[in-house]
């Protein structure tokens, strides 16, 4: 049967099919989100196709909502705030790093973190540097790798990401071998995600991990996709493991301190 005769026999069906195709073509955001989810999370591909049909003509946000409701354990729909653009620019210009004596605190992995850290280390001169990661609650994964590359001795430091389906991918940080003597690395319960991955990498390289409690144990890599102007669909990509499960770093375990040392001891003494 030719298409034209099919149309004659089922004009409404053909019209509906044409309408559906038109709707799909007219929603590039939904098409893009489908493609991204299929690529990033193949395990959701079937569900996405199903939700796409259900959300035809209703936009990418409809699709994102459906996915987030379907799999709340490994996906999430999160809102994005839109302060005045000058405020955004101001926030983005805030330092991610602060220095006090020989201790460098890395609070986050903002856009200026690499430049700030390089500048501080250049100014610090020779001698050991202590790192304070107690307030670091993670952030951009790629920038964390750039920070680690500055701090790590020459060499290759692998991290594995195990997907929900059990597939393993490898990220490698290439230590730049900078002439830097790393002293104590202080962690705490607020040290989260990329912050504790950085701590685990430094531990793998032989740094002394200090503190009185392990890190938060949230070692998940996530992708942030665009649902619409105000919402992001976050997809868990997998669990990260650094080195050979060094320092207790493993799924849900976080990084364990080796001892109370230096700065941690003095802080505890101060609090008493």
């Amino acid at each position: 049967m030719s298409v034209s005769s099919l149309g004659a026999a089922f004009p409404l069906a053909l019209a509906m099919a044409a309408l559906t195709l038109a709707e799909i073509r007219a929603d590039p955001a939904q098409d893009r989100l489908v493609t991204q989810i299929e690529k990033l999370r193949p395990d959701l591909a079937g569900d996405v196709r199903q939700f796409k049909e259900r959300c035809a003509g209703s936009g990418a946000l409809c699709l994102a909502r459906a996915i987030a409701a379907h799999d709340p354990e490994t996906t999430a729909l999160v809102p994005v705030s839109h302060p005045q653009t000058d405020t955004i620019r101001w926030e983005r210009s805030q330092p991610s790093v602060a220095v006090s004596g020989r201790t460098v605190s890395i609070y986050r992995f903002g856009r200026s973190v690499v430049r700030d850290l390089r500048s501080i280390l250049d100014a610090a001169g020779p001698g050991p540097i202590d790192l304070d990661l107690r307030q670091n609650q993670g952030g951009d994964f790629e920038r964390m790798k750039q920070v680690a590359a500055i701090l790590l001795p020459l060499g290759h430091y692998p991290m594995t990401t195990t997907t929900l389906e059990g597939l393993v991918s490898v990220d490698v940080v290439h230590g730049t071998g900078r002439d830097l003597r790393l002293g104590d690395v202080t962690i705490g319960t607020k040290t989260t995600s990329a912050g504790e991955i950085l701590a685990a990498l430094l531990a793998e390289a032989g740094a002394r991990i200090c503190g009185d409690q392990p890190t938060a144990g949230s070692l998940r890599k996530k992708a942030v996709t665009i649902a619409d102007h105000d919402w992001r669909l976050v997809l868990v990509l997998g669990d990260i493991l650094v080195g050979r499960n060094a320092n207790g770093n493993g799924k849900g375990l976080g990084v364990a301190p080796q001892q109370l040392c230096g700065r941690t001891r003095s802080l505890e003494a101060g609090s008493n």
Binding site: A76, Q137, D228, R232
Partner: protein, 387 residues
């Protein structure tokens, strides 16, 4: 016709069409004036480039971010981010003929090639407004954008390419239907390791910078140390060029030979050959670079450093960094005169405009009392741009 003249409509933030007979008016020859939006005094300063004095100041709405001028309609439009409006001014009388309320935070403006329509990006709302400068009204509003930043019209005016600051995407908008008809991926989705992904900083696309014929678009991806080259006819990425860390956006030379990209992460500047699509030089820049201007037969480039209050000077023949020009205030953006001889740079902290002799590569004068917080400088027929 030089690219500088050709590009005035397709690339300029403020542009005027040539060949129009100007009636008797307050501004005798618009080609001699520099338009400067003053964010804190809510007006547009008009500087006479022949005398380097302020000829007049035109009141507009709150926090004017950008101005665009259309000779075809003899209108000027200013985006007022502070009160969500645009002001339309009749340049024959210098009167505001209409104040239109758009969406949240109208910021960047781009004129269609015929100058009758202005595309205004409402960055806070994720929408784009098409405003008729003939009818003085908002024609349509496009949703489905993600912090829309700078915009670029296709040469025939049928499409607008939108750089989304909040996404790793370039949106393609069909002007006639006022809808997003395509999204071109640039870079890749952000990956994070954090309990609060919404707080992770992100910078998508600042601008799509087109070649003179409109066939290629250059879109730096703020998170990827790379710049995509887009075939604007097929709307596909045909190449990805490595740049320095955290590239801002591409600025074209007027002859169309190079794209100049400040990399604010490692404070370098990548210079890309349009012919070979290769990085031909990476030179030392400075902190917080907000713009690039070229001139004097495209032998010289000035990189504006807001972070260090200076201009960094490149010789484009030798592809070398040849000097710096210290400035008395914080520079924002600038404009080179269409003949490539002079450069005007807005200094926001000192309420001045610096005038640079491009050939001599030297500061020649400062124009005082321009207004409060001058944010940019725009001229007819020039390669204008915004932050």
């Amino acid at each position: 016709m030089s690219f500088r003249n050709q590009a005035k409509n397709s690339l300029a933030c403020a542009s005027l069409l040539t060949g129009m007979a100007l009636p008797a008016q307050a501004l005798e020859d618009l080609g001699h004036y520099v338009f400067v939006p003053n964010r804190n005094s809510a007006d547009i300063a008009v500087i006479d480039a022949r005398t380097n004095t302020v000829a007049t100041r035109i009141p507009v709405g709150l926090v004017p971010h950008q101005v665009a001028v259309s000779a075809g309609t003899m209108k000027m439009i200013a985006s007022n981010t502070g009160d969500n409006t645009v002001s339309i001014v009749d340049l024959r009388t210098l009167d505001t003929v209409e104040t239109l309320t758009l969406d949240h935070e109208p910021e960047h403006i781009e004129l269609a090639p015929d100058g009758t329509i202005a595309a205004v990006g409402n960055i806070g709302a994720g929408t784009l407004s098409f405003v008729s400068l003939v009818e003085n009204r908002e024609l349509s509003r496009v949703d489905g954008l993600y912090e829309p930043h700078n915009m670029t019209f296709s040469p025939d005016g049928s499409l607008v390419y939108v750089g989304n600051l909040g996404a790793d995407l370039v949106s393609v908008v069909d002007v006639a239907s006022a809808t997003v008809i395509n999204e071109i991926p640039v870079g890749k989705p952000q990956t994070v390791a954090t309990a609060s992904p919404e707080s992770a900083e992100f910078q998508g696309i600042i601008n799509v910078t087109a070649t003179p014929d409109g066939s290629l678009g250059f879109a730096a991806f703020g998170e990827g140390d790379a710049m995509a080259v887009l075939d604007l006819r097929t709307q596909e990425t045909i190449s990805t060029l490595a740049t320095g860390n955290l590239p801002w956006r591409a600025y074209p030379t007027a002859d169309g030979k190079f794209m100049i990209v400040p990399n604010n992460g490692d404070e370098t500047v990548s210079i890309i050959s349009v012919a070979t699509l290769e990085e031909v030089a990476r030179l030392k820049g400075a902190a917080d670079m907000t713009g690039v201007n070229t001139g004097w037969f495209e032998t010289t480039a000035f990189v504006i450093s807001r972070g260090e209050q200076k201009l960094v000077v490149f010789d484009l023949d030798a592809m070398e960094r040849v000097g710096e020009i210290d400035l008395p205030g914080v520079p924002e953006t600038g404009v080179t005169t269409p003949d490539g001889t002079m450069l005007y740079v807005a200094l926001s902290s000192s309420n001045q405009v610096a005038v640079i002799d491009v050939r001599r590569r030297a500061l020649v004068t400062l124009i005082d009392n321009v207004g409060n917080d001058p944010w940019g400088a725009h001229m007819v027929g020039a390669l204008n741009y915004c932050h």
